[in-house]
């Protein structure tokens, strides 16, 4: 099978869905002529024209809300937030409109839309171009939140998200666009809400998502040399979150580490650990351990940045800690 980058996966998924369904449109800052700053949407303007691939003004609230209104009235918009940090500008529209309209209108509306947002840190982009806000959206009933990381999942899950009749926040890791993997050429779907066991193991479960799932895999391979057998779960989707897979694994290993890239306080890892305790405290042989970024804005200096983001060492330490219990 051919191997393509995540950038190409995203482009292909959008392109194939637009080919298949005339109501799919793409809007956002610089998505058309320039093909987005990461090159994800390059070439789509030429294929589908300016009526469907729309360069918007720098008005996140305005064009996100426009996407919501368009979804309500028959389009299937993909709204791109250029860096997910700026999704704050569209928060009212996402939280109070997209997530609420169906429920507060008693179900008499559907909002099939995807909000794509490049997130994550690395490379010295500093405090306003590095953040991971998935926990905020996880807190909001009415949304779905996904962050697939394998090229195969990225393509399949974007197609699923576009076909979904709910607003889906689709986080793409900025540092992963160049990652390659084997991906079928034809359109296919990967379900939202199903985690995947990336590596079976019997000693410790590591739950992670997005780039941290890759780090967790690297850690697991290295620890295997030390005869520590980690099971790695890539959540892929954080809302809904597949607790069945998580608990099945915890039942087997009885030890769990949950890793997120976002700063730790108030993050998803805390919520996941709490849920594991609620569902299966007695399964645990040692206290669950959370790994996350430091609670500071992302510093520019790359040396400092590397201290803030979780890395293989911090994940390993967490694994050792669970084994001591």
């Amino acid at each position: 099978m051919r191997s393509i980058t995540i950038r190409e996966c995203l482009n292909e998924a959008i392109s194939q869905e637009m080919q298949k369904d005339d109501t799919v449109v793409l809007m956002g800052c610089d998505v058309a002529v320039r093909g987005n700053p990461f090159g994800v949407t390059r070439g789509l303007l030429q294929k589908f024209g300016a009526k469907r691939i729309m360069d918007t003004p720098i008005s996140e609230a305005g064009f996100t809300g426009m996407g919501i209104g368009a979804a309500a009235m028959g389009l299937r918009p993909i709204v791109e937030i250029l860096y997910s940090d700026w999704i704050t500008l569209a928060m009212d529209q996402i939280v109070n409109m997209a997530a609420k309209m169906r429920y507060m209108f008693g179900g008499n509306i559907e909002l099939p839309m995807v909000i794509r947002a490049p997130f994550g840190a690395g490379g010295g982009c500093a405090a306003q171009h590095s953040q991971s806000f998935e926990a905020w959206f996880n807190h909001i009933p009415g949304l779905k939140v996904v962050c697939p990381i394998s090229p195969h999942d990225v393509k399949g899950m974007l197609i699923t998200a576009i076909r979904d009749n709910n607003p889906v926040i689709f986080f793409e890791h900025k540092r992963a666009y160049q990652m390659k993997g084997e991906v079928p050429e034809e359109p296919y779907t990967v379900p939202i809400g199903e985690a995947v066991v990336r590596r079976p193991g019997k000693d410790v479960t590591i739950v992670a998502y997005s780039l941290m799932a890759i780090r967790a895999m690297e850690v697991a391979e290295e620890l295997a040399q030390e005869e520590i057998d980690c099971e790695v779960i890539d959540l892929r989707s954080v809302l809904p979150l597949d607790y069945q897979t998580v608990m099945n694994s915890v039942a087997k290993t009885n030890r769990v580490v949950v890793v997120q890239e976002a700063n730790l306080r108030g993050g998803l890892a805390s919520d996941i650990v709490a849920e594991i305790i609620d569902r299966g405290f007695d399964l645990l042989d040692s206290p669950p351990v959370r790994v996350g970024g430091l609670n500071v804005p992302m510093p520019y200096n790359v040396g400092l940045e590397n201290k803030v983001i979780p890395n293989k060492d911090t994940i390993k330490e967490a694994v050792f800690k669970t084994l001591q219990g």
Binding site: A61, M73, N165
Partner: protein, 348 residues
């Protein structure tokens, strides 16, 4: 012209215009406008009573005094056109043809209401009939209206979207973003600024230098007009022009319907913070009284016909209340997770 009645117009109200129906409006249409304004008045008058008697609860904002705007504007629409509304939205949805029984049931929180008891006064929606929903956050419906217009344009459909909002909404950033987007792409939407001069207790002049809000349209390269918001016929005429323009693909307009909030911000607000004496002359401009006088003086309708409409309206609202109170049912707890996600999916 209804110049026959001497009217004491407050001198600050510079956009006062005597009523005069365009030739295209026949008697039945004018009587229908009167009927709908009366229906809104009666609905919101009774809603206040019901709220004060603890029969309904939450927040309800009265459209009393603004009836000419929603009714004039919606009369200019065709079947299939859409509107977005505001927290003060009863008038918009009644003017667009909503079923007052389902509205009242919603205000009572009943399962038979438009939103099955999950929305209440501020969120009444009937998307199939072009009512894209009321919203409780000032300005938040603006881009939704632009999105509806985008969908019409991209799907090659004819519908026009009216975006109702207040003077308060025009100071939200999203107002500017939305008007700019719609203007840039010539989308079929009409922005109707209901300038009632008050944002809860804040007077427009204290937070806005240029209080003639239609002038902002110039900055976006689109037409802007100001009309007497107590005059249903002039609202109709101006909105009709803007809707026709939008339908032809010539883009959006801003229509500022200037009036004055006559009652409190919400139904139980007694307005202790306002000079109620200064407000009194504005009651002389009551859009329903003016329309009634006009219809009679111009011999378009007899007093008897008007009285019949008034009686019918009272009966319909009483019936809606009876239906909501006595016939409708409380939603079951089992529906709590329903309709959060589409296609029957339950995510807890």
């Amino acid at each position: 012209m209804n110049a026959k009645t001497e009217r004491n117009v407050p001198k600050q109200f510079t956009c006062y215009t005597p009523l005069k129906a365009p030739k295209s409006l026949d008697k039945a249409q004018q009587l229908d406008m009167y009927y709908r304004m009366r229906l809104i008045r009666e609905f919101d008058t009774k809603v206040k009573d019901l709220w004060m008697e603890n029969e309904i609860y939450g927040l309800a904002h009265s459209y009393v005094g603004a009836e000419a705007i929603a009714v004039g504007a919606c009369a200019a629409l065709e079947e299939g056109d859409a509107i977005t509304s505001t927290h003060r939205g009863h008038g918009h949805v009644i003017a667009k043809g909503a079923d007052i029984r389902k509205m009242m049931a919603e205000l009572f929180g009943k399962a038979e209401g438009y939103n099955h008891g999950k929305g209440g006064s501020m969120h009444i929606a009937d998307v199939k009939h072009g009512i894209l929903g009321a919203t409780g956050i000032v300005g938040s419906g603006m881009p939704i209206a632009v999105g509806s217009a985008l969908a019409a344009d991209r799907l090659g459909k004819e519908w026009v979207t009216l975006c109702f909002h207040g003077d308060g909404g025009t100071n939200q950033g999203v107002w500017h973003e939305s008007v700019n987007l719609a203007a840039a792409w010539s989308l079929p939407v009409v922005f109707i600024v209901e300038n009632n001069y008050m944002a809860i207790g804040t007077e427009l002049v204290n937070v806005t230098k240029e209080v003639n809000l239609y002038k902002r349209a110039v900055g976006y390269g689109i037409p802007g007009v100001q009309v007497d918001g107590f005059n249903v016929l002039v609202v109709y005429a101006e909105v009709k022009k803007a809707v026709e323009r939008a339908r032809k693909g010539e883009g959006p307009s801003v229509i500022e319907a200037k009036f004055m909030r006559l009652l409190g911000h919400f139904v139980a607000d007694d307005q202790w913070y306002r000079d109620l004496e200064a407000l009194k002359p504005y009651w002389n401009l009551d859009p329903i009284v003016r329309m009634k006088e006009y219809l009679v003086e111009e011999q378009i309708a007899t007093l008897k016909e008007i009285d019949e409409i008034d009686a019918r309206v009272v009966e319909e609202i009483n019936e809606a209340i009876r239906y909501a109170r006595d016939e409708c049912t409380e939603p079951s707890v089992g529906v709590l997770y329903e309709n959060l996600y589409a296609d029957g999916e339950i995510i807890k």
